[in-house]
């Protein structure tokens, strides 16, 4: 696999209607909030999880697209992956030096696992090459406006244990709680380093798959907690050179999200309440802008 030759940055917008995009284990699974601004947060690892899940659904049996960090739910449709033993031979030299051996191990992991190739992984080889830094790096996603989580109480017409049933003398009802955000548009920033891609063999085909994962991953992540989530915009900046042609923050600043109606006094409740603009004049030369959604 030949690695990608361009540096990329991307702005990824997704929204949620009546759901919890990412629960906070510190706050009883309330949606994550930035305590200073009351904007919603979605962690980088939350988004990476969904990318991994999408890839394992999309490429269940393809060699080279195994997922190392698996979730049980996805495991159900994981199959034994046929592995082409041929490609193993050149790496598995006789009596390699310790460092070479470590490198071969790392290389093998990169060749076989999409998530190792993309996001990296830590291996305890102790000697060298024990860690893989992946080319793709994502930051926390933040909502454009402050969000107000609602606590919705729900009832269940059954109980779990006999004891509970006795205590309720046959009424058999329990209350539960759901935390939702009525609406939130989230913005995430990401980086793809061509130089790190060289080391892990992250190719153009991998990048295409990565974009596809971002575009489609919410379609395969439906659950009672999530509500309706959707990818709304994926704006990709492609630098001409591998090192890049412009600072990342200049490119991110060129994507502006404003209320669709300047005098709107009601809280935003749908994507149409926002306007997304790319200030193309502010994009330095040598950077191509692609809107994938």
């Amino acid at each position: 696999m030949t690695a990608i030759t361009h540096r990329y940055e991307f702005v990824y917008l997704f929204d949620i209607t009546n759901g919890n995009p990412n629960g906070d284990p510190d706050a009883g699974n309330l949606p994550r909030l930035d305590p200073e601004t009351n904007r919603g947060l979605v962690t980088d690892v939350c988004l990476k999880r969904k990318i991994r899940n999408f890839v394992s659904l999309d490429k269940p049996a393809d060699a080279g697209y195994a997922i190392y960090m698996q979730e049980k739910a996805v495991l159900n449709n994981q199959h034994r992956k046929a592995y082409d033993a041929q490609s193993l031979k050149p790496e598995d030299k006789k009596l390699p030096k310790e460092e070479e051996k470590a490198r071969a191990i790392t290389q093998w992991m990169c060749n076989n696992f999409f998530d190792v190739r993309t996001f990296g992984a830590v291996m305890t080889t102790g000697v060298n090459a024990g860690q893989v830094r992946g080319p793709v790096q994502m930051a926390f996603a933040t909502s454009i406006d402050p969000v107000v989580p609602l606590e919705i109480s729900i009832t269940r017409m059954a109980v779990t244990t006999e004891k509970e049933a006795e205590a309720q003398s046959g009424d058999n009802r329990t209350m539960g709680r759901k935390h939702i955000i009525p609406y939130g548009l989230y913005r995430a920033h990401g980086f793809v380093s061509a130089k790190l891609a060289e080391r892990t063999g992250f190719s153009d085909a991998d990048l295409e798959l990565f974009w596809r994962a971002l575009i489609n991953m919410f379609e395969h992540d439906r659950s009672a907690a999530r509500g309706e989530m959707a990818a709304r915009k994926l704006i990709v900046f492609e630098h001409e050179s591998a090192m890049g042609n412009a600072p990342a923050h200049v490119l991110f600043d060129a994507v502006r999200i404003t209320p669709a109606q300047a005098d709107a006094d009601s809280a935003p409740r749908r994507f149409a309440d926002y306007r997304v603009e790319i200030d193309r004049a502010a994009i330095p030369s040598g950077v191509a802008v692609r809107e994938l959604i």
Binding site: D24, V45, W108, G130, R133, G244, N245
Partner: protein, 224 residues
């Protein structure tokens, strides 16, 4: 030092983990020389040079925030990879994240901005074609254009760092007024000594008017 550089770096969040509190990560109050060197390395580095951080300017008030995430507990063992390589099959080589889960809180910094003053030395690996001027030019050109080997980060990769070169003669940006008094930041990691089995070395960080003077790597003040 005729070949020093000044780089402004800033970001929304940062986590320069204290080595004594790394399970539930707690950040140092400010960027460490080691993390600052990593940022410079991410823009330009070759085995022929080594960056030395001379001074760190803290521009924004020091504020913390906590975030808890689901993380995995285990690391990948090379033995199991070797086994899978021999078998030529990736089937058994997975990590079930929901069976190996740890919830960890991280106490991180919010809204940080620093100016890193640094210079570099040539190392014994420098060849005849390596001159100080060449590497300095490459660094300045890249930093000016926003080029980098990889996007530098504020301690951990989920917190990207923005950077901007401060040209020769340009002033250091204004510091927040709350940073004026002198502050003892305590023993702080200087860097990891990779020549001596990756042992950490520390220094007593003192901040005066938002400026931390970083002692030279081989000086008396840096202790293992």
């Amino acid at each position: 030092m005729g070949y020093g550089v000044k780089l402004k770096v800033w970001g929304e969040r940062a986590c320069f983990t204290r080595p004594e509190m790394k399970v539930e990560r707690v950040s140092y109050d400010v960027i460490t020389p080691s993390a600052a060197r990593g940022i410079l390395d991410a823009i330009h580095w070759k085995p022929a040079i080594r960056w030395h951080v001379d001074r760190i300017h803290v521009l924004k008030p020091i504020r913390f925030e906590s975030i808890r995430r689901n993380e995995v507990g285990g690391k990948l063992s090379p033995a199991s990879v070797t086994k899978a390589m021999k078998a030529g099959d990736t089937a058994g080589l997975v990590n079930y994240v929901d069976e190996d889960r740890q919830q960890r809180a991280a106490t991180i910094l919010r809204d940080v901005a620093y100016v890193i003053e640094a210079h570099f030395d040539l190392t014994p690996k420098a060849g005849a074609e390596d001159s100080v001027g060449k590497h300095l030019d490459i660094f300045n050109r890249r930093a000016r254009k926003g080029q980098c080997f990889q996007q530098p980060c504020m301690g951990v990769r989920e917190f990207p760092a923005n950077f901007q070169l401060i040209e020769d003669g340009d002033p250091i940006p204004e510091k927040h007024e709350s940073l004026q008094e002198a502050r003892d930041l305590g023993w702080t990691l200087h860097d990891i000594d990779f020549d001596r089995g990756m042992s950490p070395r520390f220094f007593r960080a003192q901040m005066a008017d938002g400026v931390i003077e970083v002692p030279p790597w081989h000086s008396e003040e840096v202790k293992a």
